[in-house]
């Protein structure tokens, strides 16, 4: 009994120290933030005004294809990648999958006012510094809604985790451990270098990434990373992909853990029996 009491005292002080250097310190380093908002409630409800996909197709072909390709429906890029990077600093994204991976109303708001939807107004004030994609605030909500409707109508029903990552993140970020370079080097346009994402799942963890990807400003006030407006499903796929690459042995780790711990549990039992056997003789 005395040993148990001593064990209790040692455990108590160990746990107090642990609590101080882990949960307490982390709660101070990372103050609590609001949970991820996949409805993007701060934005105007543009898509409440119903749009029409056929009309959207027309508006898109008049306004968007000068810069963007839509390969899914056979609209190629007007300029090749290098020329685009040289002149704009980035390669404008292909719009084939936009209707699937971005939340509809966010997408509408992004078309209307990219820096507002992306929360980048602190970087691009629209007076001295302009974002690469211009505002389409002159368009009616109905027309914007129609573009979104059209993009949704052509979007694939499903994408692999990696495909979502490439379209949502891979234009600025590299993934070295999957041999994926970033599409364009945006260091100049964004005035900061987007980090490689290979180990993000270990350095940030799933919990942080869930709120961070949804709204980077929550954790990194003033960051150049835009809010990209992924749907909950698309964001989950991105995080799963980060885990597949950055923590590829997770499944193996979790599979063998119970066996090792089970074995050690048995070892505790056997060694206790042996201890009793040996000590019976002396005590």
């Amino acid at each position: 009994m005395k040993e148990l009491k001593i064990f209790g005292v040692v455990t108590f002080f160990t746990l107090v120290t642990y609590w101080g250097v882990e949960p307490l310190a982390h709660s101070i380093f990372h103050p609590h933030v609001e949970p991820a908002d996949f409805q993007f409630k701060d934005l105007e409800k543009i898509t409440e005004t119903k749009g029409d996909a056929t009309k959207g197709k027309e508006i898109l072909s008049q306004n968007c294809v000068g810069c963007h390709s839509v390969e899914k429906v056979g609209i190629p890029a007007q300029v090749d990648k290098q020329t685009a990077i040289d002149s704009y600093g980035v390669f404008p994204p292909d719009l084939s999958t936009a209707g699937l991976i971005y939340e509809s109303n966010y997408l509408a708001n992004f078309i209307k006012h990219p820096t507002k939807a992306g929360k980048l107004e602190h970087k691009y004030d629209g007076v001295n510094k302009f974002y690469i994609m211009p505002d389409y605030s002159w368009m009616s909500n109905e027309d914007i809604s129609s573009i979104v409707e059209y993009l949704k109508s052509i979007a694939p029903a499903k994408l692999s985790n990696k495909e979502v990552f490439v379209d949502a993140c891979g234009r600025c970020h590299s993934m070295k451990y999957d041999k994926l370079p970033a599409v364009s080097d945006v260091t100049k346009v964004m005035a900061s270098t987007p980090p490689d994402l290979s180990m993000m799942i270990r350095s940030r963890g799933e919990h942080y990434l869930t709120t961070f990807i949804n709204d980077p400003q929550k954790h990194l006030h003033g960051t150049a990373m835009p809010r990209v407006g992924l749907t909950e499903e698309a964001q989950k796929q991105v995080i799963t992909y980060l885990e597949e690459i950055g923590d590829s042995k997770k499944a193996e780790r979790e599979a063998i853990a119970p066996y090792v711990l089970g074995f050690l549990g048995f070892m505790i039992f056997i060694s206790l029996l042996w201890k009793r056997e040996v000590w019976n003789e002396v005590k």
Binding site: L24, K176, R202, M267, I268, S271, V278, V282, K283
Partner: protein, 423 residues
């Protein structure tokens, strides 16, 4: 060679040449340990075993690790963690083991202080243990640099900078230690050498020496009782095992150790598989970037208390620069535990709780160390800075007061005895 009979068995063959029976007797079956002990006496063997785990896992990591600033991070996080078969397991074991070895070192050390196992002939046990603490600290610090993540880099930066505070040679010393004006490739390769060769060699030597220091004064026991080991050993050998106050190292002492070790390994592997972030800081999974400081820089948990003593002095006092006071206080914290046998003036070898004054001192020390550890990690601003200051001052005062506290304790106990043990 002297004349010998033809050996009848392999064991005998070795015995003729190496005196294995004699060796086993001296080292194991007739190496006597007190019987009145608890599980805390198993921490030494737990430490030896954890060191063995670190050594073996380290060997397997060494085969794929590349000590070069451009390759180190990927060799750890890609090659070892993702490509090498069970590489991730060896790395997790190594990382978690490095943290747990310090937990056990501290438990082992405070057990020694609690039971007064550092005095009356046991001074060398204590000093060799303190030497091992320093060596393990050097091993941990140099090893933490190797993955070349953000924390590796900035911890190396901040800690090597500390030497800059030494008068006259400080600045040049920092450059000399780093081999460059900043933490660079030269720094990584030399700390790699320290981590995989020089320091482990010294630790191995230190462990052998630490075991040796136990032979003459013998292991202490739960009551601090002085035992006539020869007489008790004779009782044991005369089969009066239940009466004898001693037990042989093998098999009796080890039977208990193995049980404690099994419990420890369960915790070890639970943390390795499920709860490793405390030992493998997530920030260190960001590659080192010399132009971007992490928002918070802190050492691993086991260095926090002395780190807090270093930065606890954040304002100039009486014309002395804050940084210089901090450095002196830090130096004080590094050596003061080694002086325990001389700071404790009382000759009594007994558990702290049966010593009226030392009891208070001991638990106060534990509490202050925990406060220092916790605040060593928190940002040193506002109230935190003052908590750090007052607990650093308390830490120093506590140790300066120990000789007086223990001297008073002798006087008090003597007076108590003269009153015939009555209050």
């Amino acid at each position: 060679m002297a004349h010998s009979e033809k050996a009848k068995s392999l064991g005998e063959w070795f015995d003729q040449r190496l005196n294995t029976t004699g060796f086993i007797k001296v080292m194991m079956t007739e190496y006597w340990i007190p019987k009145d002990i608890n599980f805390l006496w198993a921490m030494g063997m737990v430490l030896a075993f954890t060191f063995k785990i670190l050594l073996i896992s380290g060997i397997f990591l060494l085969m794929y690790y590349k000590p070069d600033v451009d390759m180190a991070f990927d060799s750890v996080n890609y090659t070892i963690m993702q490509e090498v078969g069970y590489g991730w397991l060896f790395r997790h074991i190594h990382g978690v083991g490095a943290s747990l070895v310090f937990l056990i070192i501290y438990i082992h050390m405070f057990t020694g202080i609690y039971y007064g196992s550092y005095k009356r002939g046991r001074e060398m046990i204590w000093l060799s243990g303190m030497l091992l603490l320093i060596l393990f600290s050097a091993e941990a610090f140099s090893g933490y640099m190797l993955p070349w993540g953000q924390m590796s880099y900035w911890a190396a930066y901040v800690i090597t900078n500390i030497f800059g505070g030494i008068p006259l040679i400080g600045d040049e010393l920092v450059v000399w230690i780093r081999g460059n004006f900043y933490v660079a490739d030269s720094t990584l390769t030399r700390f790699f050498m320290l981590h995989v060769l020089l320091v482990p060699l010294a630790i191995l030597g230190g462990i052998v020496f630490h075991f040796y220091t136990l032979r003459i004064p013998h292991v202490n026991n739960q009551k601090g009782e002085e035992i006539d080991f020869e007489e008790e050993a004779n009782k044991y050998k005369a089969d009066r095992k239940k009466v004898s106050k001693v037990i042989p190292f093998w098999p009796v002492f080890m039977a208990k150790d193995i049980f404690v070790l099994s419990v420890f390994l369960f915790l070890f592997f639970y943390l390795t598989f499920y709860h490793y972030n405390f030992a493998m800081d997530p920030v260190n999974f960001d590659p080192a970037n010399e132009l971007k400081t992490p928002a918070h820089i802190y050492p691993e948990w086991y260095f926090l208390w002395s780190y807090e003593v270093l930065r606890g002095f954040f304002f100039d006092i009486a014309g002395l620069k804050a940084a210089d006071i901090g450095l002196v206080a830090f130096g004080f914290a590094q050596i003061i535990f080694a002086l325990m046998p001389w700071l404790d003036r009382s000759p009594t070898v007994a558990p702290a709780n049966s010593r009226p004054y030392f009891k208070v001192w001991f638990w106060l020390m534990i509490v202050i160390l925990i406060i220092l550890t916790v605040y060593g990690k928190l940002p040193p601003t506002g109230t935190n800075a003052w908590v750090g200051f007052y607990s650093s001052v308390s830490f120093i005062l506590l140790f300066l007061a120990l000789p007086f506290v223990t001297t008073k304790e002798i006087a008090a106990t003597n007076a108590h005895k003269q009153n015939g043990g009555k209050h």
